[in-house]
Amino acid sequence: MKKSLSFFMMLVLVIGMLAACGPQREAQPENTDKDNGTGENQAEEPKPEKLVVWEDTDKGVALKPAIESFEKEYGIKVEFKELGMADKIRDQLRLDGPAGNAPDVVTLPHDQIGQVVTEGLLQEIKVDDSVLDTFTESSISAQMYDGKLYGLPKATETPVFIYNKALMEKAPETMDELYTQAKELTTGGQYGFLALFDNFYFAHGPIAGMGGYVFNEKDGALDREDVGLNNEGAVEGAEFIQKWYSEGLFPKGIIGESGGAAMDGLFNEGKAASVMNGPWALQGMKDAGIDVGVSVMPKLSNGEPVKTFMGVKGWNVTAFTKNPYWATKLVEHITNEENAKIRFETTQEIPPVKSLIEDPVIADNEAAKAVAEQSQYAVPMPNIPEMAEVWGPMASALQTIATGKAEPKAALDDAVKTIKTNIETNHPAK
């Protein structure tokens, strides 16, 4: 009896405590008026003492001069911190944002924009058309989500054709040409051309070049209902991919998770005459003592260029800043032609600034020129969150295609079905 009594008393205490609580918050702060856009209250927005920027690791050298000139011009102090762009900045922003330590400006890869905007970490920016015009169109579209602009592009990268000058005199013009060359060069542990076509990031090039697409564009936004990865063009692209594997031009050992390391190894040992890879691989190749040549991807048999995926790193204004107007000004400043040029010179990142692409600094640099040229044909990776559902099923499909376990058409149909189911399960319609 004692026990039940004391238990009852405890219950009373707990209930009493629960009843005491409730939303007794102090007068709720005015609901954030920053959602209303920055356009109207620019004039009123006072100059802040300082702005905080999060830059990618080891890229601060490119930011410093831009910050100095900004400080001189506007008298606003700018501080920056280096953080890994791939996921550190996003993860840190999730924690620091709501806690009140958020930076004003961050740099993010554009394919995270959809996700991050959905979570409410970024805000829309308003920029004059004259500013937008200085960037390539595709790089600006990469910074758009749901018809709104969320940042300005800082640099682009896309896979290009990289060849070993000792084994291949010059880059072929067309894929057919490359195919015949590869047939001759591929003997006894030597390979003519290698690419990670079981990875959708690289496979997108031929698939899109033949007419496939991930999501179709509708009214300035990507339409998640319209997946074009099993249409006629996509199947042709997959057949093209399968040919390389089934004829033994690509070894089975470059399929799967560790395929990239295997391919790099072959190229760096001089066993592969050419590869499709991103500019980030160049340094390792040069270090391995290979005399590399870089060019755009050879044209496909239908005369279309290989439409590689493009990644755009951008500068974005966070949802937590109290100074959206000045943060936007800062973004405009660090992406302008002068600072973009400094960036290229210090970090070799290629800014999608139109005037700069013709500038001798880039035009005379073989690798940069190839990347810039390939970028014109490239398609920005879709930045809507639904894209997360595409990678896995497409990797499965491409792997079964590469190993010859499935016919391209059947594998792609299956993948698209999975993608659509996954989108329905994981991404409820808005």
Binding site: C21, T32, Q115, G120, G256
Partner: protein, 427 residues
């Protein structure tokens, strides 16, 4: 109880009075102790009022205004409030218990402890508690706190589209569990992954344990020369960090360039085996690798146990005319298993959640069409993929709960059946 004989009801009165902490002690005329309880109570509420108020409100509502309220932070505040409440209740229960006990003493006509005696009592009896309390508090926040977080998360709809600060997270009851068993894609994946997880756990662990014990007994033979060297070599796989071994194995099993296909299998005339692209071959390779990684530990342990088995047992057996096999099954094996059973069980639970080898060898691959997870994905690596690629935090937490439930049940059941937990000693 012999309450009937008692004339007074001090025990009950004191317990009832101490519903207001301290008053039961006052009733027992233990004023200092009563005052301490009273002050403790008052300061508890003074110090934690905000924490509790805000925490419980957050725990129940998970926030009301998007952007301003951050549901996940509120959930965390709520858990802290829960823990603080639990600690408060423990002190409160002790207060009632103490008042009742002392009242009882008075009923029985015993003398109560004086303040000095109470102080000494506290020091003597309380010392062990004092010593374990820092570790205990650390454990509460490092272990209990995350467990509560996952458990609560499993009942929310936390995913990309319900992510703070833009949106609020809501309680959805057992919807996540219903979805896992009801939606086609989820169900198919869950049972596929579950099936392989169980096969993996049993086959890989049993193999590594059997191999370890077998080799230990072999090396422990009396007339074996160079035991030290053999032992050292067998323990070497353990000395290399496992992730390095796994990565090297991953290269060795490469279908075109790996040494397994290219040299070993080629030499005995077997064609290339699709280790990385055919799910059953990947699974086989994984079981081999885990045996390699896991046996040295069992080997070392068994060697230790074998050396502690007295020779007299074997001599007596020989005198009684036992065969070698009988000696093994009646003496060696029972003694080894008796001593190592708890650790062998932990090997099973360890492999059930062995993320490293699965993830590093083939990333859970190869891919299987029409399924959410790869062919060699076990539950834990699938959960990782759910969180990292699909941002399905709620669902991932639900799967985690199912997984923990399985591990806990199996572990408890096995531990209870193990002899070493039932009897004090065998020999």
């Amino acid at each position: 109880m012999d309450t009937k004989k008692m004339t007074s009801n001090h025990g009950r009165n004191a317990a009832l009075l101490s519903i207001l902490p301290g008053f039961g002690q006052f009733y027992n005329k233990q004023f200092v102790k009563g005052a301490i309880f009273l002050i403790l109570t008052v300061s508890f509420f003074a110090a934690f009022y905000d924490t509790l108020n805000w925490g419980f409100w957050g725990l129940f509502t998970l926030g009301e205004i998007p952007v301003l309220d951050h549901s996940i932070f509120l959930l965390i505040d709520g858990i802290i409030a829960l823990i603080v409440t639990a600690l408060g209740l423990i002190i409160y229960a002790f207060n009632i218990y103490d008042a009742y006990n002392n009242g009882k003493k008075r009923d029985l006509g015993l003398e109560l402890n004086s303040v000095r005696e109470q102080y000494h009592n506290l020091l003597d009896n309380g010392f062990p508690y004092l010593m374990i309390s820092p570790g205990f508090f650390l454990l509460v926040f490092v272990v209990i706190f995350p467990i509560l977080f996952v458990v609560l998360l499993a009942f929310t709809n936390y995913d990309l589209y319900h992510s703070p600060p833009a949106k609020l997270v809501d309680w959805v009851g057992i919807q996540n569990f219903i979805d896992i068993f009801k939606l086609d894609l989820w169900r198919k994946t869950f049972f596929g992954v579950m099936g392989w997880t169980i096969v993996w756990t049993f086959v890989a662990t049993t193999l590594q344990v059997a191999l370890g014990i077998f080799l230990a007994i072999l090396v422990n033979q009396k007339d074996l020369k160079g035991k030290a060297i053999v032992r050292t070599i067998f323990i070497l796989p353990w000395a290399v960090p496992s992730f390095i071994s796994i990565l090297i194995f991953s290269g060795m099993f490469n279908e075109t360039f790996g040494v397994v296909n290219k040299t070993i299998l080629d030499a005995i005339g077997i064609g290339a085996v699709p280790w990385m692209t055919e799910e059953n071959w990947t699974r086989l390779a994984l079981i081999f690798i885990q045996s390699w990684l896991g046996f040295p530990f069992i080997f070392a342990m068994t060697t230790g146990v074998l050396q502690s088995i007295p020779d007299e047992l074997y001599e007596a057996a020989t005198v009684d005319g036992a065969s070698i096999l009988q000696k093994f099954t009646k003496i060696t094996l029972p003694l080894v298993l008796f001593a190592t059973a708890p650790i062998i069980i932990t090997q099973y639970t360890f492999n059930f959640n062995n993320f490293n080898v699965i993830f590093l060898f083939n990333g859970g691959g190869p891919a299987i069409p029409g399924q959410n997870a790869g062919g060699s994905d076990i539950l834990i690596s699938w959960i990782y993929k759910l969180t990292m690629t699909s941002a399905q935090y709620g669902k991932a937490a639900a799967v985690t709960m199912i997984l923990s439930l399985i591990v806990i049940t199996v572990a408890l059941w096995q531990f209870r059946r193990t002899k070493s937990f039932q009897e004090e000693d065998l020999m």
